[in-house]
Every structure is written in structure tokens, then in C-alpha cells.
Symmetry: C2
Subunit: 340 residues, 2 copies
DNA sequence: TATATTTGTTCAATCGTTTGAGCAAATGTA
DNA sequence: TACATTTGCTCAAACGATTGAACAAATATA
């Protein structure tokens, strides 16, 4: 039943006041080096652990950052979060982490609870459902930093870190053309989600750049699940003239497509080349390994954390749209290597 | 620059004291229904949000639970955490979540920071490295609930929730024998990790149960990575007499084994059946889909949360070893279906 | 009617730390 | 020597909520 030691205990031992102890521990210039040393020694002896709650209450800073993640069972998000945490921990912040599970309601509730917990800032990526952004205004009203990543680039008018989806499609198409593809199909996500729309636009413009004709029946919008990928691939195989390359806007869809191709004894990449998107771990594990777009997960995590720390420091900053867009990177694997 | 409303503000509006407001909000029996209603009305009007920090400081309860996860980029852990969070949120707890990244040092630091944040309890799964448990004694000393899951069953003498690894091996071997396997190899994890040791013991005893001879060269210990699985599988293929079934103690190793089998044009499951462990998502995605052990991720998450809530409620509880062991479930897929 | 009990509230201390103001002693400046 | 500045600390009031004790008013009991 041993009590936690407080600054008061340290003060008693040294016959000074708690205020002096507090200042000593924070290296206040008006405390003598002698006292500082003595305080720190006693603090160590008594195993003093500052009570963050008390300090948070008094100073108004909880040293907690709230993070909202759409899902954790995606490699992209979990590695983003991992790096964010690391960076923030270094600066003495802890991360409270919540999942929205792609549900708008849950996202709203997450914001509620995070604000209630008096977090010093919020880092979020929107759910696919989110089209109304009023709940984010609450955060802005509290005047704490709000940083978005991956989803929600233009929506709320704050800092945003993500990759360039439009350009990513260019990179993919450039690569496939370079490998000899002449008719590239696109298994796309739904247009109403901005990132998928950008990928579609990038795909279209890249075709034009390479003087390839745009064929409507080669763009197939759908949900990017394994099953979705299978269906779209089957449709593509039924076309009078088959494509010689397939660019899927998601890895799961790419996997579904690959399964169908292999089941039909179509050689990948010789007959049809395949590229996915996101660098989910399994892409390197299947045979043939799937080429895909790597979104710099780690770097996004770190950049988000740094942006938060920057905003947190500068009290005068007023929220405004500020995008940091990273170039994605193509990882070329067997599924798209027609040439050696 | 609008200030947050406090109970004091509500008190001023109604010309009563903050204590009355506090009690009204908590439905204290000695506050009249009239006052309660009035307080709640004003609270709503002023958009009152209780300051958790203040309440935590005074009451000594932060309503935060610290969770330590070895890694998040594993499907098992992320779904465990997801369900844990949901269950705890329901009861008004927030989750502070930290990763140890399988590093002992990081684990120690995680505990430090969690304790510093004054969490009401800690939920943890040990890293593979952890063999010294003294840092966990600190948690026990603080007399806050400590619940372990998946890793660390007997080590610390507290509540533990996990699956029965020994029995899981029996289930796997039973199934393979039933499918007609006569010589089952085991690509095992290192014995010094308890769960892997239990899987090995289960494998051995199950063979005996089925009157199958135990052949030393069919047990191959190693790290259960894709590459590790590949190597072990290659060793197995070099044996004078090949096994007709392979039970890998991890899905990644199973995948590596599968790759080698397919590269050698060995028919799976006809010539060699294959079973993995953990139900990582990719096991259902590869061809043939890999049979594996499902660890009831969701249920473990929920049970851990419930156990925490139970301990949190009962102040008189003294930590003692208390294991909840779930039976794992075999998911039979193509890779082990020799019979129809 | 006098006393006991219940009801509804106020009072004041407290959780542990931070922080502006205050003040004496030490040091610097003229 | 006299005054200004700096140094090193103390004092006391916060931060916002909770809680045991106190107390007046209302109600019940004898």
C-alpha cells in the first residue's frame, strides 16, 4: 500500500517548497544548480513519477494525441500508425488510438471521446462514408491541431499528408507501356471516392499521353475486394479482344484477378500483365508476386507526427489547407515483368 | 476564443454551488429531481463537456486502459485490439495503445509511459524476447488490474486469456490423419517460446495417440517466416522418404512451404497436405487456400476487456494466476482436403 | 408540541502540479 | 556607500471536479 511520491514529498525531504521542486525538475533558470541536482537525486531515490493528470489539468496540456484510423487490419494503416506513434513518443506525447471501422457514426463518437479526454490534437483519416464534415468543426473550434492523412485532402481545410493518386496511375501506366502493353484495363474503385476518382483520371490521361485509345469497356468500377476483382477479370476475359495488361486500383482486387487468370491458364505476365495498389503484404507472397504501388506508409506516419508537433508549437497558426503530397513508388514484381 | 464551460458556469446560471451541479450530473439521490432536470438542461445548452482530467485527478480514476501489442501488422493482434476497444468503450473507458514491436526494451518503456499516464489498468501480450518479468511487478505494485493475452500465460501470475496450443496440435493432427496422412512433418517454432513448445508437445502426443511413429527428422524448429518455411520445406523434400503432410506452426511458414511445393510440382494436398496456424488473411487468398487454425481473435479481445472490467470493479481482488483457455478451431481449406 | 429523521443543499478541503507575484539575500554598478 | 539588478527561493492561487461533513428546512414520529 505504498503511496506514490509527489513533489511535496521531495520538498519535505529537502526542506524546500513544492514550487521549487517543480521548477528544479523543469530546469527553471532561477533555480540554483545545487538545488536542481539535489532535487533530481531525491526524485530518483524516491522513484518519483510525475502525475501527468495533475500537470495536464494545471497546464491545459494532456500530452495526448488522438488518432482516428478507419481500420487497423490493413497493413497500410497499421504501419502508418506505428511510425506516427514512434515519432510522437519521442517528443513525450502518448497516442490514444481509436478505430472508426469505416463507419461515420463511429467516427463522430470517436471525436467526442477524444475531445472529452482532452487530447492536445487529433490526427485522422476519414471513413469512406464520410461526406458531412461538421463534426470536424468541433475540433477546429477547440483550437487544437487537426491533421488529416490519406483520406480527406481538401475537405476540411487543414493540414493533409497523402500520396498523389493521379500521378500514381501515370507511373503504373508508364511502366506497363514500357513493358509492351498496348491495351491496359483498369479495375477501378467507385468514382465517388476521391482517391479512386483520381486514379481513374490519372489512368485516362496517361493513356492519352502514350497515344493509346481510351476504351470505355476497359474501365470497370466496383468495390475492390477479392471477389470484386474476380468478377471484373472474368468480364474482361469475355471481351472479344482481351487486354494485355490489368491495372487494379487495389491489391485485393488484383489478387482476385490473378486467381481468375491462373484458373484460365493465362500466363502472367506474358499474356496479361498485372499491377495492384497499396503493397499489401500478400502481394509479395503469392505466385507470381504482384507488382504494386507503395504508398510510403512509414514516411506518411512520420510526416503526420511532425506536422502535428509543428502546429502544436506555433500557437499563432490558424488552420488552413496545406497539403503535403508524396510521390508513390512502383514496386515491380513478376506479375508485370514482360521484359527482362 | 470561447472558454469551455465548467460545472461552475452551470452553477452560476442556476445560482447553486458546483457541488450540487456535480451531484446532479451523477444522479446523486440527495439532489431533487427538479434541480437535476434544471442542471442537465443548462448543461446541454452550454454544451458542457466534463473535464476528464480534473475528475481523474480527484477521483484517482483516469478511465484509460493501456494496451501493449507486440505488433499491429498482424491480423490476429489487430482484430483482438479492435474488439477489446469496442468492449471497453461501451463502459466508458478509452484505450491508450502502444506497440512493443517485439522488443523487450520498448516493452519496458511502454509500461513506463502507460503508468505515467495514470492508466486504470494494463492489458498486455509479451514480446517474444521477454524472459525477465520484473517490469510487470511495477504494475502489480500499483495495484491496478493487469491482464495478459496470447503470450505470457504462466509467467506473471495474473489473469490470462489465450487458446490451447497443445490441443490445437491435436486437432490438426487428428484432421490430417483422418484425411489419410501417415507421415506428418512439423515445421515448428523455437521451443523456448512456450506456445511453440506446446504445439510441439501436442504434435508429438497426437502422433502417439494415433499410433504413428515419431520421427525426429520430421520436426524442424526455426523462425516461422516465409523464408524459414521455404528452407524447412526444402529440407523435408530432401529426405529419403518424403512426408505426406506438413503441419506448420505459423501461416507465413506454411506459405513458404507451399511455394516450394508448387515450384517442385508437388500436388497439394494430393501428394502432401498442408496446414498452417493463425488464420492470417492471405491463407484464404492463395491457391490452394491453406487450412489453418483460427484463434478466435474477436472473442479473445472481448474476453480480455471483460476480465479487466471485472477486476476493476472488485477492489478486493488480489492478483493471482487465472487462465481462460479457449479451444481453437480448425478451418479446413483446399490445402489439406485429400478426401472429398 | 417537542424531538427525530429525512431531504436538499452548501462549505471547504482535496487530488498533484504549475505559475505569477513577491521578497530577501547576493551581486553588480556608479 | 547607496542604489539597481540579479539570483534563488517562497507564497498562494489556480486548473475543474469530487466528496465528507455540516446545516437549515421540510417532514415524520411520538
Amino acid at each position: 500500500m505504498k503511496k506514490k511520491t509527489t513533489i511535496k514529498d521531495i520538498a519535505n525531504v529537502l526542506k524546500i517548497t513544492p514550487s521549487a521542486v517543480s521548477r528544479a525538475l523543469h530546469n527553471h533558470p532561477r533555480i540554483s544548480d545545487k538545488t536542481k541536482a539535489a532535487v533530481k537525486k531525491v526524485a530518483k531515490e524516491l522513484e518519483y513519477q510525475p502525475n501527468q493528470l495533475a500537470s495536464a489539468l494545471r497546464s491545459g496540456k494532456s500530452k495526448l494525441v488522438g488518432v482516428i484510423v478507419p481500420r487497423t487490419n490493413s497493413h497500410f494503416f497499421s504501419s502508418v500508425v506505428e511510425n506516427m506513434e514512434e515519432e510522437l513518443n519521442k517528443k513525450g506525447y502518448n497516442v490514444i488510438f481509436t478505430q472508426s471501422n469505416e463507419s461515420y457514426d463511429k467516427e463522430c463518437r470517436n471525436i467526442e471521446t477524444l475531445l472529452q479526454t482532452q487530447v492536445d490534437g487529433i490526427i485522422a483519416s476519414l471513413t469512406n462514408e464520410t461526406v458531412d464534415f461538421s463534426h470536424y468543426e468541433k475540433i477546429k473550434a477547440k483550437e487544437i491541431p487537426l491533421i488529416l492523412y490519406d483520406r480527406g485532402d481538401n475537405d476540411i481545410g487543414v493540414d493533409y499528408i497523402g500520396i498523389d493518386d493521379y500521378k500514381s496511375s501515370h507511373i503504373v501506366v508508364d511502366h506497363m507501356v514500357e513493358q509492351g502493353c498496348k491495351r491496359i484495363a483498369h479495375i477501378a474503385g467507385y468514382r465517388h471516392t476521391r482517391i479512386y476518382n483520381n486514379r481513374i483520371k490519372g489512368y485516362i490521361d496517361a493513356l492519352e499521353k502514350h497515344n493509346l485509345p481510351l476504351e470505355k469497356e476497359l474501365i470497370l468500377e466496383g468495390d475492390l475486394t477479392v471477389e470484386g476483382g474476380r468478377q471484373k477479370m472474368e468480364e474482361l476475359l469475355k471481351l472479344p479482344q482481351r487486354p494485355d495488361g490489368v491495372y487494379a486500383a487495389g491489391d485485393y482486387a488484383a489478387l482476385g484477378a490473378l486467381q481468375v487468370l491462373l484458373e484460365n491458364n493465362i500466363k502472367v505476365p506474358e499474356e496479361i500483365a498485372l499491377v495492384g495498389f497499396s503493397n499489401e503484404p500478400f502481394t509479395s507472397l503469392v505466385t507470381p508476386a504482384i507488382s504494386t504501388i507503395y504508398q510510403h506508409n512509414e514516411q506518411i506516419g512520420k510526416l503526420v507526427a511532425k506536422q502535428f508537433l509543428k502546429r502544436e508549437k506555433d500557437k499563432t497558426w490558424k488552420p488552413q489547407l496545406n497539403k503535403i503530397i508524396l510521390d508513390a513508388e512502383l514496386i515491380v514484381r513478376a506479375s508485370s515483368k514482360k521484359k527482362e
